[in-house]
Symmetry: C2
Subunit: 294 residues, 2 copies
Amino acid sequence: MRYAIGVDAGGTHLRVALVDEKGNLLRKEARVVGPSRDPQLFFEQINKLIKEVAGSSLSKLAGIGLGLPGICNQREGIIHQLPHYPTWKDVPVIEWMRQKFSCPVVFDNDANMAALGEKWKGATQKFSSFIMLTLGTGIGGGLFLDNKLWRGEEGFAGEVGHMVVEKNGRQCACGNRGCWEMYASAGAIPKGTTAENLSKEADQGSPTAKKFWEEFGNYLGLGIANLANITGVEHFVIGGGIAGAFSHLIEPAKSVIQHSTYGRLAEKIVLLPTALKGDAALLGSSFCVLNSKA
Amino acid sequence: MRYAIGVDAGGTHLRVALVDEKGNLLRKEARVVGPSRDPQLFFEQINKLIKEVAGSSLSKLAGIGLGLPGICNQREGIIHQLPHYPTWKDVPVIEWMRQKFSCPVVFDNDANMAALGEKWKGATQKFSSFIMLTLGTGIGGGLFLDNKLWRGEEGFAGEVGHMVVEKNGRQCACGNRGCWEMYASAGAIPKGTTAENLSKEADQGSPTAKKFWEEFGNYLGLGIANLANITGVEHFVIGGGIAGAFSHLIEPAKSVIQHSTYGRLAEKIVLLPTALKGDAALLGSSFCVLNSKA
């Protein structure tokens, strides 16, 4: 049996797991920690947790897979940039990791890794094309087209959260206005509350909370309809921290998708909740190590 | 030398050409005619013009390639639907053509055919990935990714004109509001004038016409930025009837692209005018016949 370390480093969480080639998570640790201004500091935290989780298996690893919250250029082994962290510029991930670990290291955007996870062990095992959407701090996108990830010409694909759906709309931290993620991610949650609270309140019948999720779901549907019209992809998986509110989102989203997707594509769109929850990117990054064809 | 007939049937034009395998247009005819409610009537017009252009070469053709203004399902040999023509439903193109012609017949969406034309003999010969945009009655999109057309799971890819860029915006004929093509295609041209007139007026310094193209270009740029953020594609070719106004559009479009494309992808975006003008889809559909790998 071969083993990999999978890492899922999101905007506000860090998860590390030891995974075998059947996709079993043998050991898993999570920390509430996001990237810091100093990328080296962040990688020190990652590396510490890797060593902790790997334990005595460290020397026998098939490799380490990293799902990272930034724009990853795999040809050059660097993270081009990280949202909201201007100090991260062309961070040499592979070089830094090679200095610390002797096993192979692969990396990719966390939404891409989540897509690979869902394909391997999750909701989309039988689909040759789908789009993974991670609703978290923002909206990440993983485009899986014709049995492989489509990463764009230089790794920039999947920044779906910055698709403008409302010209001159809400101000986004990226500097632009009307970005999708200002309406259908944590960016849409009012200050002073959380997605969990709003979900609980909607469960209990609060009209305000229900109204919030309805609008959130409508915008989610609008963006999905846009993605479908552009790419002709019919299967969408919803993951990320806010996926827990899927039951509140699904009907409002479907209703807008039905109306906004062009022609007969509308009736073909399928929305799936993540089957792996917080483990999607962990499994995907392990898969990248254990199956080098990815 | 092998010869093909290429057909470009758009919303308001029909063009047919005899093309050799080097990409020379040996004979070309054009008619101002669009699809009619009765699809059979439209194909009779197409077939008449094919016979006229092919002449004595008809019996020696390598095949006929059709660029058609609808959603094409190549596996089933049908047009699923045509914008604004509800009477067109699963039209059996291939079956109909086989009844009339003995040579092989291939078909695809006109924007896809234009993309193949630009790749073969036009603006994008050296690029492995690009998006073709045809600005005409609406906005057609051809996604050329990693050296091949991406048609979606069932041929629905590329309906980029129906991407919503302004929720609750202008009413589109598709039934939705705020579709991109209501702002950056003939759909944005005020009644009583034409793109040619507005172009001429802008050339002559008219502030109203200049303002019109500035806004048009801004919206063009907004949609391109969205496409870039989603797909990570960096090269865009602008064709179609309105491509003649490229010089008026380019700067306003670039300025919005610079601002709305996420992160460092912004500096990588390249906008190219069509190198083939009205011949792009004719050449692409001929290429489909003469090079069966497409």
